[in-house]
Assembly symmetry: C2
Homo-oligomer: 151 residues x 2
């Protein structure tokens, strides 16, 4: 459905929104461990999120790390997808036809229309903050590990 990049991007962003703040920035090692993703690769993805549209903020040096501004928290989830170039899921034809459109639809177009609209809704109406709040209520962002206590 989504690429690994997109999955890591979403999970990392949610985690940062949940656990981080301007005066508690999170290190890439913590983030990667927490969401069970490859650290260096996740770092690259966070760079995208930082550069491409400011979903994530970062600062270097001691006590540096990643966090989300208040403005960023209000961004739709779609912003994360866009930053990693993965919003095709709500923009493209199921059959991969460039030509497919309302006036020149593919055989699945009519059926997919409503679904696509709902996917779009989900990704555009849901904010990052909203997902973080879900997560705070116990929704998981990790694989294979019970919510773990700090060392």
């Amino acid at each position: 459905m989504l690429s690994k990049s997109a999955e890591y991007a979403l999970r990392a962003t949610i985690y940062i929104a949940l656990k981080g703040s301007e005066d508690n920035k999170l290190g890439i090692d913590e983030i990667a461990k927490a969401i069970d993703s490859p650290q260096y690769f996740t770092a690259k993805i966070l760079q995208l999120l930082t550069k491409n549209n400011g979903v994530v903020s970062s600062v270097r040096g001691p006590n540096g790390g990643f966090y989300l501004s208040d403005a960023a928290r209000k961004l739709p989830v779609r912003a994360v997808l866009e930053a990693v170039g993965e919003d095709g899921i709500i923009t493209k034809c199921v059959l991969g036809l460039k030509e497919c459109s309302e006036s020149r639809p593919c055989p699945m177009h009519d059926q997919y229309r409503a679904i696509k609209a709902q996917l779009r809704q989900m990704f555009e109406k849901t904010t990052i903050q909203a997902l973080a709040e879900e997560s705070a209520k116990g929704k998981i962002v990790i694989n294979n590990r019970p919510p773990k206590k700090k060392a």
Copy 2:
């Protein structure tokens, strides 16, 4: 959304259902041209569809080619996705979490539940034949070319 393999698989299958029959088998060259896909790669995919679950039938030799049995026409579109290993779209978690489930949901789970159900419906309730009929009514399966006449 779907891989190229899945897209080609769907388009090829629809095209074969539309234009082919047991006594008018279609050659790989015609199919690939018609759906605007790379010929050799499409051949590999049709092999999968032939072996993995008999969605497509084929015979070699003169007048050989690909066609769909009557039984195959009644298969759900999902069968095509399964043959190319791409049904994750209706089985997996949006965030890529193996752990995600009703009892241990991810932050998008509640919202995605309904959408996933509709995707599943679409792929399971729609038959290959139904798509071919849509196509017969003018729904496109190709990119960038007006319905072209034979040479």
